[in-house]
């Protein structure tokens, strides 16, 4: 409130009223220092600034340059990392591509093998079926032949048996004597 009053007085009169602080000290302005104090202060500031520029400037410049270099280095490193990441990404992509190609090759190979096995199995099955068929035909022929042979054998056996029975029944005492006499004569004449 006090500050607003002072600003209004300054605007109305064009001059600033003297100022007194809480300890009772009066100054020519409530904000500005005394003129001499202002001059000494500015001069001291300029000297300090010049000294800073002269002595701290190179160090600061050097530090800034080092910082710049460090940042540049970090940027370069980042660029390098980015490049190697890109290379790695390319490698990964290539590897991924290789894996895909290998997968395709393996799948193609497996498909080819399966096809070959299927064809082989089909061929073997056809051969086996043909062999079984041929064997079955041969067995049937053998069985037919065997049956015919067995029948012939049975007929021969029955015929021989019947002949033996007929002969045995037909040989009477006289026939026995005739056979014996015929044998004696035949042996006697064979000398």
């Amino acid at each position: 409130m006090n500050a607003l009053i002072r600003i209004a007085h300054l605007v109305a009169s064009g001059t600033e009223p003297p100022h007194q602080d809480s300890q009772g000290i009066t100054t020519s302005s409530w904000i500005w220092p005394e003129r001499a104090e202002l001059i000494y202060g500015i001069a001291a500031s300029l000297i300090i600034f010049a000294l800073l520029v002269k002595f701290a400037g190179p160090a600061m410049k050097k530090g800034m340059a080092a910082r710049t270099a460090r940042i540049q280095k970090e940027l370069d490193d980042a660029a390098g990392d980015k490049a190697s990441a890109a290379t790695e990404a390319a490698d990964i992509r290539q590897a991924k591509g290789d894996i895909g190609a290998e997968r395709e090759r393996l799948l193609a190979e497996a498909a080819a093998q399966a096809e070959a096995m299927l064809a082989d199995g089909r061929s073997r099955l056809e051969t086996e079926v043909a062999e079984m068929k041929a064997r079955a035909i041969a067995d049937i022929e053998t069985a037919k032949g065997r049956s015919a042979d067995e029948l012939r054998g049975e007929i021969a056996r029955l015929s021989a048996s019947a002949a033996e029975r007929a002969v045995a029944e037909s040989i009477d005492g006289a026939t026995h004597q005739d056979l014996i006499e015929a044998f004696i004569q035949k042996v006697g004449a064979s000398a």
Partner: protein, 175 residues
């Protein structure tokens, strides 16, 4: 039984029969007994069964031959059976017949016929076989119904087959 043992028994039987002076008769009887023995499974079983005591086996022989053969023949067969050599009886007897025939310079002629031959037929047959083989023969006739008809004569290794059985077998083979 080994050949030497068969030969030994045959020689012993031969010497006993000769000593008794009935070699021809004993030889003939033994030969016929051997053929009957070969043809009868029951007789073979009875005379070769080790479970039957020797005395009982000998009693069977004496029952079979008693009154039908000379006592020498009966005693000889009984002895062989009693010593447990029943299985070799035919071989021993064949060896004895062979030995007896050799002693007389004769060849054994085994003749198989379906019916018995008369003495006259046997004499003519012996002469015919001697004529055919060039050897004097000691004829041994075996009545064998399986021959059916005709005769089969075996002299040494020579077989002269005029049997109906062989003709039927040939017919069977052709069929």
């Amino acid at each position: 039984m080994s050949d030497a043992r068969i030969e030994g028994y045959a020689r012993a039987l031969f010497e006993i029969a000769r000593a008794e002076g009935s070699l021809d008769e004993v030889e003939d009887e033994l030969f016929r007994f051997a053929r009957s023995y070969e043809g009868s499974e029951a007789l073979r079983s009875a005379l070769t069964d080790d479970m039957i005591p020797a005395a009982k086996r000998q009693a069977i022989v004496e029952d079979l031959l008693g009154g039908k053969a000379t006592s020498t023949t009966t005693q000889l067969v009984s002895m062989v059976v009693g010593t447990g050599r029943g299985r070799d009886l035919p071989a021993i007897i064949d060896q004895l017949v062979q030995r007896a025939s050799s002693a007389k310079n004769l060849e054994v002629a085994e003749v198989r016929s379906a019916v018995a031959l008369t003495s006259e037929q046997q004499i003519r047959l012996a002469a015919a076989l001697a004529n055919a083989t060039g050897k004097q023969v000691n004829l041994k006739v075996v009545v064998d119904p399986s021959v059916l008809g005709g005769i089969v004569a075996t002299v040494g290794d020579t077989v002269i087959d005029g049997s109906v059985r062989t003709r039927l077998d040939q017919l069977k083979a052709r069929l």
